[in-house]
């Protein structure tokens, strides 16, 4: 007699819409490509070297780390690729190779593995790493100092540094159009404002990131800068200068939208974004580091579980009256 078939059993639901984690992170990485290409065009092979070296090191370290954590396979989920690319775009084209390796190691080990890998980290690994580098090797991260042997069509100084050093007078030497086109000293691709915006819009339209977060961040940044600027136009930079300089656009669409370190509830996302924009402008204006966005994000990351308590009420079970 033929034996009965061995049936597969698992819990409902037995169908799936088809989305995967790799798909989401893959598309986010894809959306960064225009900025990466823009960066390579602007900085040439030096830029390409930093990007490839960062991504390669991150993937290798991630592979080793997940093996040590006995979580093989997660190297394929695309999040390491995305964050490697983000880190690569954030570093400037003159970053020495050993610093790239250290950055990759710090990001994978301290940023990701220590917290339990994807889904576990409390702080955005990319910005955490950059903050650690910024505190440890401030001179090495000074993009302007390492990119001097080039002929540039724009001022060889980071816009935010120029503004903090010289004051509002410096703002005029950075026309908004050229800032938008990424004509500024900064990371390889993190200042490609227009290209990042395009990539971000693609992600929003495809539903791969929550649209409220970047919008709230940009609005928060704009309004805070506007209030400051209106109160004292001579000292405080105009709002669009803030939005188009440094890593603001990069933060809005690629860093703040990281799921694991941000809230999921609609109004919590608005508070999170606006709060981060406000903090970023305040730190930029009154803090020690010119691009305060990084520290604003890390602070908001820490506060996100608390912010996520703002949620729409549950349609709770009620006892009907007879």
């Amino acid at each position: 007699m033929k034996r009965p078939p061995l049936l597969s059993v698992a819990m409902a639901p037995h169908a799936h819409v088809g989305s995967t984690v790799a798909e989401i992170y893959g598309h986010q990485a894809l959306a960064l490509l225009p900025a990466a290409i823009g960066g390579v065009v602007l900085w040439g092979l030096a830029g390409l070297r930093v990007i490839l070296l960062t991504v390669g090191c991150v993937l290798v370290f991630e592979w080793l780390g997940t093996r040590l954590m006995k979580r093989e396979g997660s190297v394929l989920d695309g999040s390491a690729l995305l964050q490697g690319l983000m880190l690569g775009l954030l570093l400037h084209a003159g970053t020495p190779w050993w610093l790239v390796v250290v950055a990759a190691l710090v990001m994978v080990v301290l940023g990701r593995c220590f917290f339990g890998g994807l889904g576990g980290y409390a702080l955005n690994p990319v910005f955490l790493t950059y903050a650690i580098l910024l505190v440890s090797w401030p001179a090495r991260l000074n993009a302007a100092a390492h990119l001097t042997n080039r002929v540039l069509s724009f001022p060889a100084v980071e816009p935010l540094v120029a503004w903090r050093t010289v004051g509002n007078g410096a703002v005029e030497s950075f026309p908004l159009g050229s800032l938008l086109l990424g004509q500024q000293i900064g990371g390889v691709g993190s200042s490609m404002v227009l290209l990042l915006l395009l990539g971000g819009l693609y992600l929003v339209l495809r539903g791969f990131i929550a649209w409220r977060v970047p919008l709230a961040f940009l609005v928060g940044m704009f309004l805070t800068a506007l209030v400051l600027n209106l109160s004292d136009p001579a000292n405080y930079a105009p709002p669009l200068f803030h939005l188009f300089s440094g890593a603001a656009m990069f933060t809005a669409f690629f860093v703040l939208t990281d799921f694991t370190t941000g809230p999921v509830n609609p109004w919590a996302q608005v508070v999170y974004g606006v709060g981060c924009g406000l903090l970023a402008v305040i730190i930029r204006t009154f803090g020690v580091f010119p691009d305060g966005t990084i520290f604003a994000v890390l602070l908001m990351n820490l506060a996100h579980p608390l912010i996520d308590k703002i949620h729409s009420p549950l349609i709770a079970v009620e006892v009907p009256t007879r």
């Binding site: 049936l7 999921v264 949620h311 006892v319």
Partner: protein, 444 residues
């Protein structure tokens, strides 16, 4: 099934499909298994012994309130033993082996349901072993628990719970006149109670003239609008409720098929033996709705339709979003079974215990606004109370969270585990409390 969300602003939407084909009546199987337990009812006591010869329609077991299990075949009682419910609980069941010739019990038909009075109908249903919400006066002394609760509203659902099932809505197309007559009978029994008939929106217009005395509720093709629990809540005027709370408040949910079957049985004067089941899956170009005997093994139905099941396939009692997987093709069709779904090994979906990336899609699609991701993570790490507070208690088990989770986490299972762990904890607390009370009483 279902679409990815468009432009990130819209939720993925799952639509109820509207295919129809003819209802195919299967020849009686050579054996049936009939469960001797039903949720919310008193236990059945067998009235036959192993080896007894029974006729089709004969009472095999009954509760003190005379709700009965009837033979759906003519033949021999071969065993009374353990049987598994679709969700895997062990209960008692009776197995029958068919004889060559089918003999029915004597019928006592009712001429016209619309002319009958309420007592006649209520008594008739009791005689036929139906568990109707209305009980005759002389039986009330034998009844305990929920069955005694009064009835203030009756919801008759002529909509299916999941996409890919065409059972309840087939009652509106293939058994319309029986259904209309049965609803009239329900209206007679319900007396003052409100009767709401829930139908797909497209049927509402044509039915309003045929069912003039009842309230008609039309629902859209969106899957979640077809959730029976949320429909009960709508009728009760609340956002969400438990089935038990609904019953306590006097709300009764009847399926269109049960109502039509009750009416047909009253007219014929014979107990119910048949069930409509939608069969879909590998090997079938389109789902088929079949009429088969209650207790028919799944394997027999699949064989009749020419479906072959192999190693690694998945066979569900129910649909893709809520169905219970079976490990044995001998599992029987029960009154609650609306569908048998077969998935071939390559299309079987395997949830995995991957970490949550906190993307929030589960909470976004949840029809009762549970913070699913948070609750599931609590449940995953055994924090039952926290999971419960994050909303697990409101879960209607629609399966949408697991359907959209990009990390392929078993989200519905986490919700269910929190609910059942909490129920277990409450039960054991009540038990130990009772023990303490008993101890105190005996000391005195």
């Amino acid at each position: 099934m279902g679409t990815e969300r468009l432009f990130g602003f819209l939720k993925p939407r799952i639509e109820m499909d509207s295919w129809d084909g003819e209802v195919k009546t299967l020849p009686p199987p050579d054996r049936v298994k009939l469960p001797l337990a039903c949720v919310g009812q008193m236990p059945f006591v067998p009235e036959v012994q192993v080896g007894a010869q029974v006729r089709s329609g004969q009472i095999l077991a009954a509760t003190p309130s005379r709700t009965a299990v009837h033979a759906t075949l003519t033949g021999e009682v071969t065993s009374i033993g353990p049987l598994y419910t679709p969700d895997g609980r062990e209960i008692q069941g009776i197995e029958l082996l068919a004889a060559d010739k089918e003999v029915w019990v004597t019928a006592s038909p009712t001429e016209d349901l619309r002319q009958a009075d309420a007592d006649e109908l209520i008594d008739g249903l009791v005689d036929l072993g139906f568990n109707s919400p209305w009980k005759p006066e002389d039986l009330r002394g034998h009844i305990q628990g929920d069955e005694l609760l009064p009835v203030t509203s009756v919801a008759i659902v002529a909509i299916d719970r999941e996409p890919g099932i065409a059972v309840q809505r087939r009652i509106l197309t293939d058994f319309r006149s029986d259904f209309v007559e049965s609803v009239a009978a329900v209206k007679i029994m319900a007396d003052d109670a409100k009767v709401v008939v829930v139908v797909p929106q497209r049927f509402r217009g044509e039915l309003s003239s045929e069912l003039p005395n009842v309230e008609l509720m039309g629902v859209s093709d969106d899957y979640i609008d077809n959730d029976w629990r949320l429909i009960l809540a709508r009728i009760a005027g609340v956002g969400n409720l438990t089935v038990r709370a609904a019953r306590e408040a006097g709300l009764v949910l009847l399926t269109a098929e049960d109502v039509a079957a009750a009416g047909l049985c009253l007219k014929k004067g014979l107990p119910r033996t048949d069930k409509l089941v939608t069969v879909s899956g590998k090997g079938l170009a389109q789902p088929v709705t079949v009429s088969t005997r209650l207790g028919t093994p799944i394997g027999y139905i699949l064989e009749q339709l020419g479906l072959e099941v192999g190693d690694g396939d998945r066979v569900l009692l129910g649909g893709l979003l809520r169905g219970h997987p079976q490990f044995d093709l001998q599992a029987p069709i029960t009154r609650e079974t609306d569908a048998v779904t077969v998935l071939g090994a390559p299309e079987v979906y395997h949830p995995v215990e991957e970490p949550c990336i906190n993307c929030g899609r589960c909470g976004q699609i949840c029809p009762v606004d549970i913070q699913v991701g948070l609750a599931a993570r609590y449940a995953e790490f055994g924090l039952v109370e926290e999971a419960y507070d994050a909303g697990a208690h409101a879960c209607i088990e629609c399966g949408l969270c697991g359907f959209v989770c990009p990390a392929h986490r078993p989200l519905l299972q986490y919700m269910r585990s929190a609910i059942s762990a909490r129920a277990d904890a409450e039960a054991s607390a009540a038990e130990s409390e009772a023990e303490v009370a008993q101890g105190a009483a005996s000391e005195e």
